[in-house]
Symmetry: C2
Subunit: 225 residues, 2 copies
């Protein structure tokens, strides 16, 4: 791709958001250069309000002045626009499975795990821990290869970075052990494969400042912690 | 497509579900013959539990013995498997927009409208009505052509059948007028274009039995109605 075309890719985001991060990782895997425009979500920019007037949220990918919003929609756009290093398989049934597991991680897995950190009621919290074990077991059963995408990172792994990176952060802040090598050996090994992938290592936020900011966010949501 | 191949398409579903219906309409638009296996959700079949062990929900599309679940995942699969009469545009940015509006209808629009029928608290209900007007106004502003898909039904229109058919049912049962020709002239006209589309007319459930069943369902959810 010519440099002047590459320059046209911008990403409105915040450092530390799993939804922004998945877009950054996909762009990295595709070899697409982009400019990260950091947002302050307390004082949203005019650009964000212009490009995402309905949800007013990050990430927003801007390509050739066209804004694309919603992280899963952006990932499909990236896959269709830059064909190299595919993140989805070619065959329709395998693509459907990848989309199913992506939705599962996004809609079921992360909301369940998030509750273990943000629920104050002890009974509710125990229920959330039990349900987290259930969803992690489902992922454990599904994992057949090095990555969900096989030998290389695919869509499920990209979206799954919220399990590989954000879940251990939640565990550390809350003082929980959810994803242990004893209970979920394949998934535990997968998190290390993901975190040691060179593109993941290069693009993840630095751990200590991220942890401090993430802890502050959880404390805002659950004042007693 | 040869008849023996067509015979391999089965759909596990229930009549009256907007999530099942959107799959039926897409199959109809593609000219795919299928067998509808009606589920009783009070006594789920072994087949449903086998094919959708995680969510145990309909619709499930079974093609060549491969089960596909989650209605939006199924629609993408249908589009990729049967190429005729595309329901998504070809160009990536237009595809991203179609996916964005599909998510908007599914995640924002219908849950907001549904609350107007199922919320007992009067203040909450007034808020839901106000928010319903807002989401309908957003759709009104977005509608540029005969259909969201242009001159023919596309993904947004297929998913939007929940607005065209299920919303008037909610209005009738609850005694509300949300989508009026005065407030939303383009969207109002669109609902008629959708409902008069020959494939939609052929596949929608018969109105009176549907209304009775739908009313019973709303009453279960809101006992005082």
């Amino acid at each position: 791709m010519a440099e002047n075309e590459e320059e046209k890719v911008k990403l409105l985001g915040v450092v530390g958001s799993p939804f922004v991060y998945r877009v950054q990782l996909a762009l990295k895997l595709k070899g697409v250069q982009y400019e990260l425009l950091e947002e302050n979500l307390e004082h949203k920019s005019q650009l964000l309000l212009k490009y995402n007037p309905i949800h007013k949220k990050v990430p927003v990918l801007v390509h050739d002045e066209n804004p694309i919003t919603e992280s899963l929609v952006i990932l499909e756009y990236i896959e269709e626009t830059w064909k190299g290093n595919p993140i989805l398989p070619q065959e329709p049934y395998s693509r459907a499975l990848a989309r199913f597991w992506t939705k599962f991680i996004d809609e079921k897995c992360m909301s369940t795990i998030w509750k273990t950190a943000t629920t104050l009621d002890e009974k509710e919290r125990e229920k959330a821990i039990e349900e987290s074990h259930e969803v992690l077991q489902i992922l454990e059963n599904e994992l057949k290869d090095k990555f969900f995408g096989g030998e290389t990172l695919g869509l499920v792994d990209i979206v799954g970075t919220c399990v590989a990176f954000w879940l251990p952060a939640i565990e550390q802040i809350v003082g929980l052990e959810l994803l242990t090598s004893e209970k979920f050996p394949k998934l535990y090994n997968w998190t290390h494969q993901v975190l040691n992938h060179p593109f993941v290592k290069e693009t993840l936020p630095p751990r200590e400042p991220f942890l401090a900011a993430f802890k502050a966010r959880i404390q805002i949501l659950t004042p007693s912690k």
